[in-house]
């Protein structure tokens, strides 16, 4: 049996639930993979793991320590979801004064132990594979486990949500209806969900970086604003879901 662990950091448990449902729906996998550590199921064996899935970003020293310890016990580490891969939606507070942030929520803000910016897990440990999404597509986890079982890893196609729209035969919501859509700059994997529901993508799989540069990205954002997108839509990808990539793209 291949031993699998699921570790949760700062996150919503959504990717864990998605993985759990996907795994339980594939009986042939249940015969090959064994859940060793999964607090939601009450499983707490901590000796060693073949695969460690990590959900969530790192937002305090306690989590950082826990993550390092789990990494030592694991052969392969998979970052699960946009939070683990890029920092996630909670990155929207990055760059702000953390003391101010705490004050908006807590009567005693100084008691709260929290980093000023949430970190993607690759800031702390070596990551072997990344599955992005908010939430991840359960099929991606199943795909990963099947490939792992035969000794390989899934191939990653560097493409945008647009490619999925084309493959699914969907009419472009931006071209045909003038609906602002982040699909062209967003990592694929969801199956073009939002356009299939007649709305624009809002970037929850994170910003694509392979072939974007600062000028082209800014031109694209300008276009969205002209189509009537609220400024917040751009903030959600540039400072939220795609925070790390955006910082990287802006440098180059």
């Amino acid at each position: 049996m291949i031993r699998v662990a699921f570790l949760k950091l700062t996150s919503c448990s959504g990717c864990l639930n998605q993985s759990l449902v996907a795994l339980l729906s594939n009986e042939e996998l249940l015969g090959k993979f064994e859940f060793a550590y999964f607090t939601e199921l009450g499983l707490l064996t901590e000796d060693y793991f073949d695969i460690l899935f990590v959900e969530g970003s790192v937002s305090n020293s306690k989590q950082e320590k826990e993550l390092r310890e789990f990494r030592k016990k694991s052969k392969t580490l998979v970052a699960l979801g946009t939070c683990a891969v890029q920092g996630g939606i909670q990155s929207l507070r990055s760059g702000e004064d953390v003391e101010e942030v705490k004050k908006t929520v807590y009567p005693f803000p100084d008691k709260i132990d929290i980093y000023s910016d949430p970190k993607p897990i690759s800031d702390v440990v070596k990551v072997d594979f990344a599955i992005t999404g908010c939430p991840i597509n359960g099929d991606a986890v199943v795909n990963f486990l099947r490939k792992y079982d035969v000794g390989g890893l899934p191939l990653i196609l560097p493409e945008s949500v647009c490619c999925e729209c084309k493959r699914n035969g969907l009419t472009c919501v931006m071209v045909a209806q003038g609906t602002p859509c982040l699909g062209p700059v967003t990592v694929s994997g969801c199956g073009a969900l939002c356009p299939s529901f007649q709305r624009g993508c809002y970037g929850c799989y994170g910003l694509r970086t392979w072939d974007l540069d600062k000028t082209r990205l800014e031109k694209f954002f300008d276009k969205l604003l002209k189509l009537g997108a609220p400024e917040s839509m751009i903030q959600v990808i540039a400072r939220g879901y795609g925070y790390r990539s955006y910082k990287y793209v802006r440098r180059g």
């Binding site: 919503c12 959504g14 009450g42 507070r93 705490k102 929520v105 807590y106 969801c190 969900l193």
Partner: protein
């Protein structure tokens, strides 16, 4: 001399800890349930964001009840800006919400609660002990997943719900197909599962005096701007902003909520005990067959309320799908010309209880302030009181920790909902 002993809280959503304080004779003198979840400051990050994108943002608060957040927020803005959602479209959104209730309850009973009821360590042990129920649970999870995906695109962070309506509805053909699948697959599995859960004789029966709060509605509680607490009724705004006390304990990220100094309970048991006569007649029949058409005595019987709600939701969705008419959705969003400061308030019954939203929006449509109160945050005080009452003055042993853990699981705390209220009255505990 006192010392503190903690153990991780398992079989709950998110991360928490139970702290038991004992005296020199090892007797329990205090119990605290801690949420160790790191906060994500949603009330801060929605600030300065346009209200139209807020439902998608707040749905990320919870990986299990995201649609409650989405719909709750969308409705808050619709109330605040007087946007009318056509009745049929509203009904579609309610169905997504009911589908989520099925998904969440099935996951809770099956994966988290059932091991306590039948005395196994985890859900996975069930595979050998009762393979039939194991398969049924998996089957229910799969079908509820399919239902969520068909209506909302994915299991959580559903796609179509937007301020003003939905972006797209399924077609009549899709609805009929889905209805058939539910009748053929979901309904029989759920019947067997209900039979199993309602026939269990392992529920403790001692009476607990609970203050029960729900949203106030004509039908079974769903969504409203009014709250009912035991027999007192008041607007949600008054209840959450002026009446309940908010307490932050030392070094803790979770806030506690109390009403007149007392804990109160939200969620399935509150909805069931106050409104079970409003469940679908077929559900009431089902309960009658097993002798459960009565008030539940304590939180450990919560699985009964969850089964009843799951059954009720399934029948309502079936009826909806089998009588489905396609509706055009063109132009759900209206441009908003709000006043200087708009107050947008709503309360929705998430699977675990009342979820309160309050947003203040400026004339540009940007959020200036938000207050979100989650069901679990409201239940923590009650959870603690009940747990403490059960073990106080007993000598510490493994059974005590086990009891305290069972109390937590019975409440189904979803501590991933790491948003917290930002106001107001501070009560010193010590």
């Amino acid at each position: 001399m006192s010392h503190l002993r903690t153990q991780p809280l398992v079989r709950v959503e998110g991360e928490g800890e139970i702290a038991v304080v004992v005296d020199g004779n090892n007797r329990v003198i205090d119990v605290e349930y801690h949420i160790t979840e790191a906060p994500r400051f949603f009330e801060y990050i929605v600030r300065n964001k346009h209200f139209t994108i807020v439902p998608d943002l707040v749905s990320r608060i919870c990986g299990l009840c995201g649609s409650s957040y989405e719909l709750g927020a969308a409705r808050a803005f619709e109330v605040g800006f007087e946007i009318n959602v056509p009745e049929k479209i509203e009904k579609y959104r309610v169905m997504i919400h009911l589908a989520e209730r099925i998904k969440s309850h099935v996951l809770h009973i099956g994966f988290l609660n059932l091991p306590d009821l039948i005395g196994t360590r985890t859900f996975m042990d069930l595979e050998k002990r009762n393979p039939e129920i194991f398969r049924i649970i998996i089957n229910l999870v799969k079908t509820s997943e399919f239902l969520m995906k068909s209506l909302g695109g994915r299991i959580h962070n559903v796609v179509p719900i937007q301020v003003g309506g939905v972006s797209k509805l399924i077609s009549r053909e899709e609805a009929v197909k889905l209805g058939k699948l539910m009748r053929d697959v979901l309904a029989p599995s759920l019947e067997k599962f209900a039979d199993f859960i309602l026939s269990l004789e392992t529920y403790p029966d001692e009476k607990q005096e609970l203050v029960l709060c729900t949203v106030l509605e004509e039908g079974y509680p769903h969504m409203s701007t009014m709250i009912e607490c035991n027999d007192t009724r008041m607007p949600a705004y008054e209840f959450y902003e002026k009446t309940v006390e908010v307490i932050q304990r030392d070094n803790k990220t979770a806030l506690l909520y109390k009403l007149n100094g007392r804990p109160y309970v939200v969620g399935p048991i509150a909805r069931f005990n106050k409104n079970r006569d409003k469940l679908h007649p077929m559900t009431i029949d089902l309960l009658r067959q097993y002798g459960w058409n009565r008030k539940l005595n304590n939180v450990f019987q919560g699985a009964v309320a969850r089964i009843a709600e799951t059954h009720d939701a399934m029948i309502r969705i079936l009826e909806f799908l089998e009588n489905y008419e396609s509706i055009s959705t063109s132009g759900v969003l209206k441009p908003v010309t709000g006043s200087e400061m708009n107050l947008c308030v709503n309360a929705i019954e998430a699977p675990r209880g009342i979820l309160y939203h309050r947003y203040t929006v400026d004339k540009y449509g940007l959020i200036t302030e938000a207050n979100l109160v989650t069901p679990t945050a409201q239940n923590i005080a009650a959870l603690e009181e009940i747990g403490k009452h059960m073990v106080l003055n007993e000598v510490l042993n493994e059974n005590i920790l086990d009891t305290l853990r069972k109390v937590a699981v019975a409440f189904d705390p979803c501590i991933s909902c790491s948003v917290h209220s930002m106001r107001v009255k501070i009560v010193k505990k010590y």
